[in-house]
Symmetry: C2
Subunit: 237 residues, 2 copies
Amino acid sequence: MSQENKAPAPEPSSQAKRALLEQFARVAKALAHPNRLELLEFLAQGERTVESLARAAGLSVANASQHLQQLKQAGLVASRRAGQHVRYRLADDDVVALLAALREVARRHLAEVDRIVEAYLAARDTLEPVPASDLLERIRRGEVTVLDVRPPEEYAAGHLPGAVNIPLEELERRLGELPRDREVVAYCRGPYCVLAWEAAGRLRERGIPARRLEGGLPEWRLAGLPVEVEKEGAGQG
Amino acid sequence: MSQENKAPAPEPSSQAKRALLEQFARVAKALAHPNRLELLEFLAQGERTVESLARAAGLSVANASQHLQQLKQAGLVASRRAGQHVRYRLADDDVVALLAALREVARRHLAEVDRIVEAYLAARDTLEPVPASDLLERIRRGEVTVLDVRPPEEYAAGHLPGAVNIPLEELERRLGELPRDREVVAYCRGPYCVLAWEAAGRLRERGIPARRLEGGLPEWRLAGLPVEVEKEGAGQG
DNA sequence: GCGACATTCAAGCAATCGATTGAACAAATG
DNA sequence: CATTTGTTCAATCGATTGCTTGAATGTCGC
């Protein structure tokens, strides 16, 4: 109808453009399911087997395997066989950066995110988190106790320098392990990982000054800050 | 079977976690289609009407409108009514950052991307692009001619300081507008926008020293570098 | 208010996706 | 070599997505 007096060809719209957009969409598609995002969050803590990931995410093994393969085909994760197990890991730290960008856009432009944080997370801990840039210096001065509330498997794969590992469910029982005269900074998997919010809240209820780290271990590592890894052969899996 | 000697509950797996992952997936889902990625690339150049976007992307208006609404619900774009038209724009520069992270992961981990660039884009221009950080200084010293090969509509919405606007299809005809004694740096919409690759290649075929800018206008703007905007009321549709 | 235009809505259909199930494959163990 | 354990494959089904078509809504110029 009106094509004649408009630009004749819409755009060069080259084959290349289309092909590239399809590749970018392929990556985005891999991110476009909550189960896969959760798997990526676990993988950002360190290498894990399919079974371990399935259990952690509450998925059947077959289902987890399929999701992992989609992630793999999108270049987001890599895998290697280790004996009977296949161990998956993030392809690269740039995946952590991509996830951070995704969360940031969601946080800033979806009111729903604020609502959820307010309703569920802020109920446990309303204090502002500690920026990673501040924390390293305070660790070196011995001013803080760093508390890693993730499961031991994830702690073993890498944690903040000098961090104490007390999974959330053992926190009350093992309060004695925390020095009383220093502030506690708790962290877990990422900025929205509920474990750290909950831990900080529970500690302060008991009179222990505690705050969350801003972000989790993957973000710390992405920022180039130092990470401690347990010795190999610690019988972790 | 083996549930008894493993962790009893897979994870806290709180309602909040699930709800947040669904929000993040919502954003990723909006990115997970090549047509929407293309619309975002156009929108990253500046505000545009539905009809203009549909034409540029080669979509029906109804189809473009639907995609734009998905982008809007994911918080990636915003819209306002301007007379008869509805004008869409990126919600924020953090969307440009997200797109950059997405492209970066695809480029580094999908061999297909390299293959496409080699086959289609590198055929036009094999030289390394000019980093944005270098270019600004050279612009100020008057050492380069900056060439914007996008359509006038996009140029008008914002362009590099002092850039000359010659759309690709007019390039041969308007070669005389380019000073002969300075290097030309061409740019268009982004790092994979074929216009700049093509322009640099054609200019060098004619003996004019020319290279591409690394990235396009949106990336330049995201880096906080200065952008010139045409005066309002320039009759730009 | 009435037409003209721009955009959105709603219905329908093909194609794709996600989860389940059971079988197939691979590596270690006896 | 047979068994066990861990992972992937293949088939299936319901749900969602993407595009088209035609109608409805909203805004401008008269």
